[in-house]
Amino acid sequence: MEKNNNHDSFFRELLSDSNKEMPFSDFEDDLMTEIWLDHEKKYSVRKNIKLSWLFFILGMLSGIAIVVTLSFYRDNQPLAFISDNLFPGVIIFICLTIILFAEKLVKISFRRDNQL
């Protein structure tokens, strides 16, 4: 016990002058700048996600409008070609686009904050 105390007092004295302080005077300001940038980046990512949702919904509505319009002209010339050959293709394309975009948006939106 006494030996341990001996060690402890010896080492306390030995290392008392070896405490180090941050030698970079600009550290505090640099770090706060980094933190502001990080905060702004996170904020702008959130803003972009909101805009992505807005344009995704607008795009989806436009897609539905196009499909409805195309189906309205289905039997009329000169769109008969589209209705006969491309109409199912357009629907599949729009559906795939919606699914892929929706999946990406949901992933990004529910990603944890520290990954942003």
């Binding site: 010896f10 030995l14 290392l15 070896s18 180090k20 706060m32 502001w36 990080d38 520290n114």
Partner: protein, 185 residues
């Protein structure tokens, strides 16, 4: 005081985070330096640790002190950085010779600066974990329980590491001081 500033930061006052930077940067640097033994690496690790703490502040539940939580991040980042750089020294103790403090005497003729130089050099030569244990226990004056909480080591690990660290320091200092004498005379 810490709780007040945590609340401020979480309420959107980003500049309030400066309080934590000002308050803990030196201790964080001291800990990171003891692991990495390089001032630039230590600065980068402390900076990274502050950014992580800022991002995760909302998840800090206040079960421990902010400083304990923050220093844990600093040490984890420092050890991670050491691993990435591949500089990790094995803590396996190959030295068996026991050295007693009575056998070591720092020459009184050495100036304070010279003594500090040799102590710093010895700290550089011992393993990162040993240097960290010495820094926390003797320089920062943490209790064994606090060291256990910050580092995640077990109590017996802390004690063993401190014992090895003291032994390594004695040996390093003996070696350095004997070399010094040979150079002088």
């Amino acid at each position: 005081m810490d709780e007040l500033y945590i609340r401020k930061v979480l309420d959107g006052d980003i500049d309030a985070f400066r309080y934590f930077v000002h308050q803990y940067k030196d201790k964080a640097y001291n800990l990171a330096f003891s692991v990495l033994k390089n001032e630039f690496d230590a600065r980068d690790v402390v900076q990274e640790a502050y950014i992580i703490a800022f991002r995760k502040l909302g998840k800090f539940r206040g079960k421990s002190k902010f400083s304990t939580w923050f220093f844990r991040i600093v040490i984890n980042e420092a050890l991670k950085s050491l691993k990435v750089a591949g500089k990790e020294k094995s803590i396996a103790d190959t030295r068996t010779e026991s050295v007693d403090p009575g056998h070591i005497r720092i020459d009184d003729t050495l100036s304070r600066d010279q003594q500090k130089y040799y102590i710093d050099l010895a700290m550089q030569n011992i393993s990162s974990n040993e240097a960290l244990a010495l820094t926390m226990f003797y320089m920062e004056e943490y209790s064994i329980e606090e060291i256990r909480e910050i580092t995640g080591w077990t109590e017996s690990n802390v004690k063993v590491l401190l014992h090895r660290a003291r032994k390594s320091m004695y040996q390093e200092l003996n070696l350095l001081l004997s070399t010094e004498k040979k150079t002088l005379y």
